[in-house]
Every structure is written in structure tokens, then in C-alpha cells.
Symmetry: C2
Subunit: 285 residues, 2 copies
């Protein structure tokens, strides 16, 4: 999906307004860091607690010391403040390299980067999407799976597969054939009354909206399962929708030329999700 | 291998001395770029033509417009100049993002970054290395295989597996079990008179020294083959050595506790390579 929200209006590094990061930052050198994309409404940051929880879990897995929680919270709150909706991109890298080479010396201090972009939140009942099947297969590495890390060349190459602006997204499998996600969205299938989304133990990003929609589905008493899926499951699905922190749930109305109905499960979830997206809260109930 | 050559002495962005890169550079945001590590001797840049050839091939595969060759050459020559050996790290990114999201708009202009580090070239007959078998398995993606791109989190995590300074490197396989490389070196095996190095069609970096050693081996009339290899081939090898643009050929004297002889093929190749490393030339004969 393209969220062309233009260029950043303001940017901060380690709490100070700044346009640039040190060349020897390991974020640039190796993609050695993580990021979060936060929807900011006049009422505050949407699902801020979930985003910071995922960031903390990612830092732990990559053994990046987590910046102090109150510092992050204050900087995000300050950058998010405004009358107009905005997207905040938060990047946390391992910090500036203290020596050449991949080895972590233990003397690095994490770098906190914030970029604020103008944003028009999409209408909740936006029309369904046309989606293609992508050729690129994501590499599998359980140690990186689920993380929203800075190594995103696969997504860049996947997004380069098409130029037609009528196509919103492409769905991709992993090297061994497991269904993973879109280039910047998670995917859900409805099949035989069950709601299914791919397990992300080999690759993919565990999206915040994926988590929120899962909680909403359980709250509605739906038969919701996270499980291994393949392309055959996509072809057999009765409904398909995509999730993303900025857009919520978007129905797929056409997949690789096949028309799909905007079905009842998708509509039910969209209706239940809509009030949670309208006003900022730390986490869904 | 650890090449702790300290911090950069000087740095340039797009030909001007600068310490930082724009926050919206896609190199930082997505690791959307490539790099080269150049050995600079008082006589010039070693194998500069091979490095620039690999960079050009990488840019073509990632569809990053290649900076003009004469501009790159001039900037490298200027940064490399000096009485003392140095390492130059050249980074070329797709440039600053012109919109939010993964999509390439076509309006990006590549960013050229140069970092100059002090360097003590290793003695040619340096003692053999102690090497371990790494646990991390590299993800497989033919579209990224061979490229020296900026998505290096796997190497960072691989290098975090050990802290013992007596261990110089770890060898890693891919997710499907193919032997790939060290964390920052390519690997060669000698077995039954043949010299073997892994095919890098699924993952790994096609190192410049790997290329040079291959040419030297062919020149010596050795039975040299690039082929799929597995861990069993490593265990059955009579000689093992690692290559890297800065260190040339390093014999492995111990692999995961097994002592290895510093054998005749490794010694023959080291002797043939040594004169090529001493003085800078554009490419090996």
C-alpha cells in the first residue's frame, strides 16, 4: 500500500531537532535497529503501549539496550502533539559504531530518531483493494522473524514489482512456500467460518494492527487462528483482508484477477474496529 | 574476523566532507543501498576496478542509478590518498526518500558516502585462525544473493554468538542447509585435490578476495570449482581457508575443536597471492 504522506515536517535525534544521523551509526551501516510507525491523532498516539511493547521485545531480541521508557514516551508525546493527524516514524538503532566491523563492543549507546509526517487518516469504509501475487519470496530467519527491523530491502524489491497505481499491495510467500504478508501489511483469510492469519515464526513483521484485530476477533467470539498457511489457502479463501497500523482493515476485492466479495466477517471486524481507531488509546480493551 | 581499525578519520557525503547523512536517506530507513570495503595502500586502491564492477552490478540488480564512474573514481582517489595504509568504506544508497513508504518514486538521487579508517595491513603469513561453527542460518533470497548490500543484521547477530577473542570467525549455513560463508569472509575447502567454494546463488556476499583467489587458482591450474556445499563437506575438508578483501587468505588451523593442517594448497595460494596484495593494482592479471 502506498501512504504518500509527503516529506517529514520535523525530525529529532536523541531528543533534539536534527536533520541527519552520524555516518557511523550502525543503523545506516548495517540496518542494525528497529522502527515503529505510529498513528498520531489530536487525542494522542494510537496504541502507543503496543508499539512500545513491540519495540522493547525487539530490542531484547537484538540485544539493543532499550532507551529509558519515560524518555521515549516524553519524546514521542512531544513529537506527536498537534491539532492535525500525523504519522510518527520512530527509529531506534544500536547507536554509533565504536569500532569497524560487525562486532558489538558493548560501548554503543542507542540512537533515537523521530520523524513527523503530515497524515490524512483513511475513511474507515474505504473501498476494497486490488492486490497482486508477488514473485519475491522472503528469506527465512527465525531470529529476525516478527521484528520490525531496519533490514527492509526485500520489501523495497517487492514493492518494485509493480507500478500500476490501481494495485494497492502484493502478497508474498517465504523461500519454503509459507504465506507471509504483503509488502507493508499483514494478511487475514476467512475460510469455512474460521479467521486465519499466517504464523510469523520464519519471517514477516508482527504488525500492531494484526495484534489489535486478533484481540477484536477473540472478543467477538470468532474462530481465530494463527497457523502455517500457503498460497492454496489464499486461493480457497472466501474473504481476504489486509491490516496496517495506519489503515486498519482493508478488504481485498480482487486478488490476481479473481473478484472477492466484501464478506460478512470482514465487515463485522471493520465495524468493531472502527471506534478503536477514531480516538487514541494506549491499547485495545 | 575482527578488524578493529578504530574510528573513521575523515568522512564525505556526495564529495563534501560531512559527518552525517539525512534522516530520510533510504540507506538508514531500509538499508536500501550497497557498500564496498577498499584496501588503500600508498600506491593506490587495491583491486579498485573489481570493487567498482561489483558495485555497478549491485546497483543494476537493485535498480539504483549508478553514480557517474568518473565521479566515484575521483572521490575514492581523493579519499584514499595518503602515506599510510587505510580502509575506505564506500556506501551508495538509493538516496533520500521522496515520499513515505517502500515504493521507489524514481525521483531519488543516490547518496555517495566515504569513510576513511586507519589500517595496519596484516602480515601475509599470519598464523592460522580458530573458527567456530555458527548457529545462525542465513535467510535465502536469490534476488539479494551475492550482493554486498546494507541489510546486515544477520551478520551482526552471527557475530554476537561468541565473545572469545581467540576465536576469529564462525562459519554459517543457510536456512536450507547450504554452506555459505563466515560473518565477514568467504570460505574455501580443499578436498581430494580440488579447491571448492560455495555457490552464492541463495545468499552470501560474493567477496572481491574470493574472486581474486579464484582467478589465482585457475592461473595455477588448480581444480577449482564453485558448487553447492554442506557442513559434511566442511568436516571432510583437508584444508580450509577464509578470504576477505583486507586480510587476503587466512588458513583455518582449528574448526570447532578439530585441528587442521596448514596444508600445501593454502600455502601455494598464499604465496601466489602475496605479491598481488603488496602493491595496489586495478585488478589481478
Amino acid at each position: 500500500m502506498t501512504f504518500d504522506t509527503g516529506l517529514p515536517q520535523r525530525a529529532w535525534v536523541d531528543g533534539r531537532e536534527a536533520p541527519a544521523v552520524a555516518l557511523r551509526d550502525r543503523g545506516l551501516q548495517y540496518g542494525d535497529g528497529l522502527f515503529e510507525t505510529l498513528a498520531c491523532l489530536p487525542s494522542g498516539v494510537r496504541f502507543g503501549q503496543l508499539h512500545l511493547g513491540r519495540l522493547a521485545a525487539g530490542c531484547e531480541r537484538l540485544r539493543i539496550p532499550l532507551p529509558e521508557a519515560h524518555v521515549l514516551r516524553d519524546e514521542i508525546a512531544c513529537a506527536a502533539r498537534g491539532d492535525r493527524p500525523a504519522v510518527l516514524k520512530l527509529i531506534v538503532t544500536r547507536g554509533q559504531a565504536t569500532a569497524r566491523g560487525y562486532a558489538v563492543t558493548g560501548h554503543e549507546r542507542p540512537t533515537r530518531i523521530l520523524l513527523r509526517y503530515p497524515w490524512d487518516p483513511p475513511a474507515p469504509a474505504a473501498a476494497g483493494l486490488r492486490v497482486r501475487l508477488g514473485d519475491l519470496r522472503f528469506g527465512e530467519n527465525p531470529q529476525l522473524a516478527g521484528l520490525k527491523h531496519l533490514n527492509r530491502l526485500e520489501q523495497v524489491l517487492a514493492r518494485m514489482e509493480w507500478g500500476d497505481p490501481a494495485i494497492a499491495e502484493s502478497l508474498h510467500c517465504s523461500s519454503s512456500g509459507a504465506l507471509v504478508s504483503g509488502t507493508s501489511s499483514n494478511v487475514f483469510l476467512v475460510r469455512g467460518g474460521a479467521l486465519l492469519t499466517p504464523r510469523l515464526d520464519l519471517c514477516g513483521v508482527a504488525g500492531i494492527m494484526r495484534e489489535v484485530v486478533g484481540r477484536v476477533a477473540r472478543g467477538l467470539g470468532l474462530d481465530f487462528r494463527t497457523c502455517p498457511l500457503e498460497l492454496t489457502d489464499v486461493h480457497a479463501a472466501e474473504e481476504i483482508f489486509l491490516t496496517n497500523a495506519l489503515t486498519g482493515i482493508r478488504a481485498v476485492r480482487e486478488l490476481a484477477g479473481r473478484a472477492l466479495p466484501q464478506g460478512p466477517v470482514t465487515a463485522q471486524l471493520q465495524a468493531a474496529l472502527a471506534p478503536l481507531l477514531r480516538h487514541a488509546q494506549e491499547a485495545p480493551p
